[in-house]
Symmetry: C2
Subunit: 244 residues, 2 copies
Amino acid sequence: MPDQTGPNPTAAMLVIGDEILSGRTRDANMHYLAGQLTEAGIDLKEVRIVSDDHDGIVEALNGLRGTWDTVFTSGGIGPTHDDITADAVAAAFAVNVDVRDDARTLLAAHYAKTGSKLNAARLRMARIPDGATLIDNPVSVAPGFTIGNVHVMAGVPKVFQAMVATVLPTLTGGAPLLSTSTRIDRGEGDIAEPLGALAKEYTDLSVGSYPFQKDGKFGTNIVIRGQDRTRLDMATAKLATLFE
Amino acid sequence: MPDQTGPNPTAAMLVIGDEILSGRTRDANMHYLAGQLTEAGIDLKEVRIVSDDHDGIVEALNGLRGTWDTVFTSGGIGPTHDDITADAVAAAFAVNVDVRDDARTLLAAHYAKTGSKLNAARLRMARIPDGATLIDNPVSVAPGFTIGNVHVMAGVPKVFQAMVATVLPTLTGGAPLLSTSTRIDRGEGDIAEPLGALAKEYTDLSVGSYPFQKDGKFGTNIVIRGQDRTRLDMATAKLATLFE
């Protein structure tokens, strides 16, 4: 069981779909959500990416929702045959799933306005697990939904971002995570010992070390993160003195 | 348990480190590995991203290595206090881990040449679990390692890519996954039903539907994937006739 101590609420993300696993698409939603959660003071602790496979989705979702405070999913809630997220989420929660009137009404009004037909495929997007509440989709109407501690959202980045904007204010965040970044033009091996001592001195902060190589030279970005501005500034000032 | 049928070997990736979860860095290694595996005919089936937490790494690694044929990890094998991957991998396999002579010899030769000191921090990079074999690092010498079906590699993209180049030819791949991509200027809801029928007709292929929105219009990219060029071309030709 991963460490769950620390003052902030925790979150996980489940990305559903083959496009990232096949290398076709480079992730955007995870990167977006990670930034939004950090600002909100919610710690993203784990991400899983699984393919369009019913049992795989159920297993991953049950693993994540039992471990972390909140889970966000992206992908697989459209109208096509490979959109199986709603059914898998219902299975994970052992509840029924069917076309629901509130979601159907939203879709019917939208397609009446745009002159498209609410055909059987589009009606699949009104399949909502029992007990879920809808998440507004201001971009293309077909809703996401929240069930228990799980927020089920679209994979299309514009829609995903709109849904995050709806959900995030409903969550209780912690103190926003503050950070400083210090570039040190030495390799990690040169600075690891004093850096480790600094991390031991400031156990309330996290001290991350990110090596890079540019123009044949080694360097390290040190990112210190924490909720207390004063402590963060103290540690960052100390860091600056270590490698003058 | 996710579906493991299908002709190709399967793989998973475990990304270790806080930089992606905090939103500081956008993933590059996963995207790179996904593309390389697809070319090699190995199906990347699951990715997990966890933070620098010993128990979390052990649990995720044991979940993945028991489910999929091969597991690749990235990150956490440098010299700093937050580099705990070698110890966590050893714990997952229940073997001992310590500075090993073969790895120490590599590092000592390298630092002697560059005039740096093989200090205690750098020596941490010679900690290798018992029974593992080293993975060559032509960029910065500190090796990765292979133990059982797990390949432990660096997080720095240049080093990660060099290690993938070393490991991949040692794996038995399947037939490379071929794909076609067809852009259809209609929303998913308009094409979902004939598309579903196509997917049912060609069960040996995967038919993926990726909606997009551009300049206020909805469109869909249909990606058909499979190992048989003739079947792939047949299905793609059929697709073209569906939405003329």
